[in-house]
Amino acid sequence: MSSTPTATETAKRPTARASFASSWASQIGITAAFFLLWGTFIGAAPGTFLKQDIYLSFAQTTPYFAIAAVTLTMVIVAGDIDLSFGSIMALGMVGFVWTWEATGSTELGVVAALGVGGLAGLFNGLMVTLVGIPSLVVTIGTQFLFRGLTLVLVGGRQFPLVETRDSTIYGLLAGKLAGIPTEFYWLVLISIATWVILNRHRIGQNAYVIGDNRQAAQLMGIPIRRTRVLLFVLVGLAAAFAGLLSSLRVVNFYPGALGSGFFLPALAAVFVGGTSVFGGRGSVWGTFIGAFMIGGISAGIVAAGLTDYWTGFIYGAIILISVSIHAVLQRRFER
């Protein structure tokens, strides 16, 4: 927090409209907040935070919800939201286990999981754009629908996935590379891809306009429906993929539990990262940083010697402080 006033002071009024400050002020702010939080944890628990073990742990646990959060950023930029991704994680795994059991191929199972995830996203997108229901409402509905469908389809049964370990693809999805869990590399890859789509592709350009000013998008002939549906499909794909990573890591598919704990951390990561609830503004970098802030809090609190009872309180405080940083910096630099 204390680093943010200096950031505002160095860029004085006359440069308030200068591009660097206006585009990056709030990203610099949240990055500073990240390092401040990290420094605090190191100061409070050097024994834990100066060793690599905890970072290896973060590198494995954070990506499950961070992958969803990063792609969710695009949907939120376009002015929509998807609350059903946790359920899509589980539904995608139904596609996996059925295909895997039928064919014995883990690779085909992965393809099936992604296909189911994409279809679930398509369903969300079509409900939102064709039926014309706000995405908040649609995905509250599909959150239950997809979870319920998952449980019905597998009869509530758990699937041990130990045999998938023999497949080549297993090492790519739930292995280690240079000592670091592969989940982390996937998160980095997906974040880069998402950044490119959002900032360097026509889809992202249209998403920003749709979220900022839908009437303008209409007047300028932007394919609003197609773009929104596509973004829901991308979140569906990413959610199913995160479900795969998570299930393969624990070599078990828990149809009732998979993804259910990722809902709030993922949304928190998006908003901590500076993406606007109202659309038109969002940052993949911010979500990435935000995910690791959210992912680190719980371990940090315990390592710092506080009881776990503090977790909720500190979660809330960090979310509110981060969002305030964005609000203040954006107002100061962009008006």
Binding site: T15, V209, N213, M220, R335
Partner: protein, 297 residues
């Protein structure tokens, strides 16, 4: 730039006569032509037998009180409404069943101040909104778009302030600058007829001046503009010709080179009070004391 009066030394614009036969043909090729256009909504006649034309490189001011039919006329030109009667020509070609995308394809572009800009996005993304320069797989050619924006800012917008770059967010622009951005965007995408719907609304005096310079830039680019306003002060200074609508009819057409601002204000006042007016040019020409009058619509 072609001067309107040079080509038309003859007929005075006289509202008492048949407007179609009297109005001086504008310079250059006709871009847009409407003949005898009528439109009713639920039995109420909003436009009656309106003739309207815009030439290449011409700025036409469209003036009239509330309810005179200005916005209906514009909506017909932009394809929002279809006329009940009458014909429309674009570049000499007859146009029927015009739709909004159809009008845009023809090069008729409306400039909306607030409604067509995205506040939180940088200038370059606004310029290329809906029409980005992309590679074969849809990837943005960002540096190219930034460069074009930067060039446009220097050449067409006159944004010389160092604080403004292609990366500046639209939220940081003043009202006049926003209008300028929207106009320059339309020009860049080869709009032939740019429609400015009440563009001075909510602008300060200084901002209005800026906007008027942009409108003059439209003429310089050999494009046409229709400038709708109810404030004659703004329209007079940039328009080549002013078309006065009154209760759904064209009350008269006045090349600004031949009428002073005071004369036009007098005409509008008379028209508003009595539904008729005397033509000062006719008075000047004949020295008559009494003038022909326009019958009420």
């Amino acid at each position: 730039m072609p001067e309107p009066e040079a080509a038309t030394p003859d007929v005075p614009t006289l509202a008492a006569l048949e407007p179609a036969s009297v109005a001086a043909p504008p310079p250059g090729a006709l871009r847009l032509e409407l003949h005898g256009v009528s439109k009713s909504f639920g039995g109420v006649r909003v436009l009656s037998d309106v003739d309207f034309r815009v030439a290449a490189g011409e700025v036409v001011g469209l003036l009239g009180d509330n309810g005179a039919g200005k916005s209906t006329l514009i909506k017909i030109i932009t394809g929002v409404h279809q006329p009940d009667a009458g014909e429309m020509f674009f570049d000499g070609q007859k146009v029927a069943g015009l739709t909004v995308p159809g009008a845009r394809a023809l090069g008729i572009e409306t400039v909306f101040q607030e409604r067509a800009l995205a506040d939180q996005l940088p200038l370059w993304r606004n310029i290329f909104m809906g029409r980005p320069v992309v590679s074969r797989f849809g990837f943005l050619r960002v540096s190219q778009m930034r460069k074009v924006t930067s060039d446009l800012m220097g050449e067409s917008m006159g944004f010389t302030s160092a604080a403004l770059t292609p990366n500046t967010h639209v939220a940081g622009l003043s009202g006049g600058e926003r209008q300028g951005l929207a106009i320059v965007r339309a020009l860049h995408f080869e709009a032939d007829v740019i429609i400015l719907d009440e563009p001075t609304m909510g602008l300060s005096l200084k901002e209005t001046d800026k906007l008027l310079r942009f409108v003059a830039g439209i003429r310089q680019a050999k494009k046409s503009a229709i400038f709708i306003d109810h404030n004659i002060f703004h329209v007079y200074s940039v328009a080549d010709r002013i078309v006065l609508l009154d209760r759904g009819r064209v009350a008269g057409e006045f090349p600004t080179a031949r009428y002073t601002l005071e004369e036009l204000m007098g005409i509008m006042r008379e028209l508003a009070e009595s539904g008729r007016f005397s033509d000062p040019e006719r008075l000047r020409a004949t020295g008559q004391a009494s003038a022909p009058a326009q019958p009420p619509a």
